[in-house]
């Protein structure tokens, strides 16, 4: 192809397991279409660049999150479990349990893990920029991040995004 590839510029600002999916799914799909892709990881999105990914879900802050059971009959799996806030916010280990249920449900449905999607993105040359200011604020060190991460600031991302065809804030 002779014409200039299309360009996707994403800002990943959320680090929970559910919110980690959209930027990585969009990035890998766009790269698969020969687009040029860059993601700016900032604020809570920055830990998605850590070597050791530990994204979890936070049901308490997502009132619309459906709770699905990854086992049992089809009817049991389809049922939307009502989760009262008093339970979500006060039972120790609830987040870990919800995270495991979501990971299991995703796996059952053939959804790739965040680690797999990130590896794909790296393989397809998706540019990943980690936010310097967030690193300073939260006390992260460059060694904690994957070597493919470039560290930069708002200007670095904006220069990339300046001629993007699609720009999204996630």
């Amino acid at each position: 192809m002779d014409d200039k590839p299309k360009k996707l510029a994403l800002i990943a600002s959320q680090g929970t397991l559910d919110w980690a999916y959209p930027p990585f799914i969009l990035a890998t799909a766009a790269a698969a279409m020969d687009w040029d892709v860059g993601i700016f990881f900032t604020f809570y999105g920055l830990p998605l660049l850590k070597k050791d990914l530990q994204a979890s879900v936070s049901p308490g802050s997502n009132p619309a999150m459906p709770m699905k059971m990854p086992f049992g009959s089809k009817g049991f799996q389809s049922f939307n479990w009502p989760m009262p806030n008093i339970l979500m916010n006060n039972v120790p280990g609830f987040e870990a349990m919800a995270t495991n249920l979501m990971k299991k449900t995703f796996k059952n449905k053939g959804v790739a893990t965040i680690e797999e999607l990130r590896d794909m993105a790296i393989e397809m040359d998706v540019s990943m920029i980690g936010c310097q200011m967030t690193m300073d604020v939260f006390g992260f060190k460059k060694e904690e991040f994957i070597p493919e991460a470039n560290i930069g600031g708002a200007a670095t991302f904006l220069e990339f995004a300046a001629d993007a065809n699609v720009s999204l804030f996630v």
């Binding site: 192809m1 890998t28 799909a29 698969a32 279409m33 999607l117």
Partner: protein, 79 residues
């Protein structure tokens, strides 16, 4: 069934978005120009996605089949 000569078959059964297009893109690397990749998917979203993918990458989606529980795509590498 098609009488196209298939150079390579890629089975993405069980995988959901975006893996069918991601794996298709990777598989295309192993083909010569003019050769056909057969891709099998169980993701119903792969029908519109493969059409969009082919338009964007300018590869030729020669044929696609809805086989009920799975979908089959024939893609000719154009560049």
């Amino acid at each position: 069934m098609s009488d196209l000569k298939v150079a390579k078959t890629l089975d993405t059964s069980g995988l959901s978005c975006p893996m069918p297009v991601v794996k298709t893109k990777k598989a295309m690397k192993d083909l010569e120009i003019g050769e056909i990749l057969e891709m099998i998917s169980t993701d119903p979203g792969s029908i519109p996605d493969m059409e969009a993918w082919a338009r964007q990458t300018k590869h030729d989606l020669v044929e696609s089949y809805d086989e009920g529980n799975s979908y089959r795509f024939m893609i000719r590498k154009t560049h």
